[in-house]
Amino acid sequence: MFQNKSSGSAPESLAAPSAPPYAVDAKGLAKTFPGGIEALEHMDLRLGPGELAGIVGPNGSGKSTLLNLLAGALVPTEGTVQVLGGVPGNAVRRRTAYIPQEPSLDPEMTVGETLRLFAVLHGMDPAEAGKRIHSLLAHFDLEAVVSRRVSRCSGGMRQRLHVALGFLPDSDLLLCDEPTQALDPAGKEAFWQFLESRVKRGAGALVTLHDLHEAAERCGRILMMARGRVRADGPPQALIDRHGAWVWKAVLFRPAPDAAGLRRELEAVPEVSAVTLGHTALTLRMAGAGPDDSVLNKILERQGAQAEVYERRRPDLLSVFQGLGIPSVGGETGEAGKGRRAGNGGGGGLRRRSGKKDSGNV
């Protein structure tokens, strides 16, 4: 009925003469849900074997929809997608591992039973499965709870088990949807070690993340998504060099009586490229490290505002989001250029087919 995947290793299957050149090859991929909600808009994506890409973006930007389409859990509305040279679904299921966003476990089963069940479902050889389960239990620190029912495990333990299940079979493509969201540092490290080891052996991996530092540190390639589209794609440093900027932030204890005047004066500073002025917060995007704090403080004083600087941040992925005008994680909002108020470009999340299109630049 099934070939036993575990008998062959991932790199061998990818290195074979008939191996596809891409782990993922999607063209014009789109998904519209009932009610006209467009989760994904005409996306082109290629992921090579041995490539690890992090997908970042606000909630509802289409990250999970993309992974579900690649895992064969959703059918695209438009476009074509090839996964490991085949159509997502039965033919490539045994070579693809998918870690869904929510811990999808049976509370009545024990940790060990869950791992053994999925080893059988993946068609693994019993001896090979035994070794793999032993290794996963050790790395994810689950040995002490192997006989405990899932319902009696802590949330962190459940997340470890949920993630560990994704590493049971040898897969040529790993699709991980926010796998580290509820993991402690040790659990995160175990996840990245397993993932990086698979990637080194030739597997492709797509990982959605909300932690931008983690994404920049771990992934050689970042896909920035907003409103169902990839807005930027490349190595983290290249994205930062292209779209990032120094960010200067201050808390306004007393707002300026003439907010428009303060904005005009700040915009007149040559190094300031964008101004976001709220009732209690002021954020500046700056070319280079920008002017000295004293220069900016003098402007604020002159305009009758009382403020305290709390951050002067080097260019990073968060500033890339802002540079692209994407309302981003951590509550900060994008700013596409001088004089444009935050959030004018609309949200980064799901929208209906008749909704306003994204006007930001890439």
Partner: protein, 257 residues
């Protein structure tokens, strides 16, 4: 050489039984209900002349096969509730996204339920004997009666799973099951022989699959009526596997949205 399909089937069977064993209260209550029916109905109607003369049969004896079928009917109707739990936790979808064949998954789950329901029916029969029922089994007819009971359980459990996959909610499924169970049970010969029914009801009872199962068991256990004809077994098998196929198609849809 192991075949992963059979391994999956066997593993899902064991997994399903373990889940039942871990809910002993549910299992006990599923046996309390038939016990109450036998106590209340059996003794309330103990003077009811089911069959007079030399072949006289006490009502409790007559009732026992009917209550066994009721146990199978009510138990099979609950088969889908586990699927709803697995749908809600995302566990079912995760299983469906593995290379495992949905047919092996569904067959394992439903077969485990059929075996469990037959075992529950046996326990109910033993409880009936303990209450004083007298059986005169005809072992040559028992196999056909049990096969028909198993086919009924397979078909009805598949129907329950199909309703579960369609409704995806315990409450909605409960409404559907209630609407099916009660009319099916009370328009059958589980409680009363056909000849004691009004003509219109006897007509319905003749076409009711529960009547066929109850009558088949009565012939095998009490030597009254007629045995299960081959045509009935064939029709039962066709219906059961058709319902299984319908449920399997729905499970395939749950795999991809």
């Amino acid at each position: 050489m192991f075949d992963p399909g059979w391994r999956i089937f066997g593993t899902i069977c064991v997994h399903t039984w373990k889940k039942v064993a871990r809910r002993p209260i549910v299992l006990v209550f599923s046996l309390v209900q038939p016990l109450m029916w036998m106590i209340f109905f059996g003794f309330l109607f103990h003077r009811y002349p089911v069959q007079a003369g030399e072949d006289a049969v006490a009502y409790l004896d007559f009732l026992l096969p009917g209550v066994c079928v009721m146990t199978v009917l009510f138990g099979a109707s609950q088969s889908g509730t586990g699927l709803i739990r697995d749908l809600q936790t995302g566990f079912l979808k995760r299983m469906l996204l593995t290379p495992a064949s949905p047919a092996a998954l569904l067959a394992g789950k439903v077969s485990a339920d059929v075996v469990r329901l037959l075992a529950q029916g046996l326990v109910v029969a033993l409880m009936g004997l303990a209450l004083g029922a007298r059986l005169h089994p005809r072992f040559s007819a028992l196999a056909a009666a049990l096969v028909l009971t198993a086919l009924f359980a397979l078909g009805y459990a598949s129907l329950s799973c199909w309703i579960a996959l369609k409704t995806r909610s315990q409450e909605t499924m409960g409404v559907f099951i209630q609407a099916l169970n009660m009319p099916l049970f009370f328009t059958s010969t589980a409680l009363v022989p056909k000849r004691h029914m009004p003509v219109w009801l006897a007509g319905i009872a003749a076409a009711n699959p529960i009547s066929a199962v109850a009558d088949g068991l009565r012939f095998a256990l009490l030597r009254i009526g007629e045995g299960v004809p081959w045509i009935q077994l064939a029709a039962g098998g066709a219906c059961a596997f058709a319902l299984f196929a319908v449920c399997l198609a729905e499970l395939g849809k749950a795999r991809r949205l």
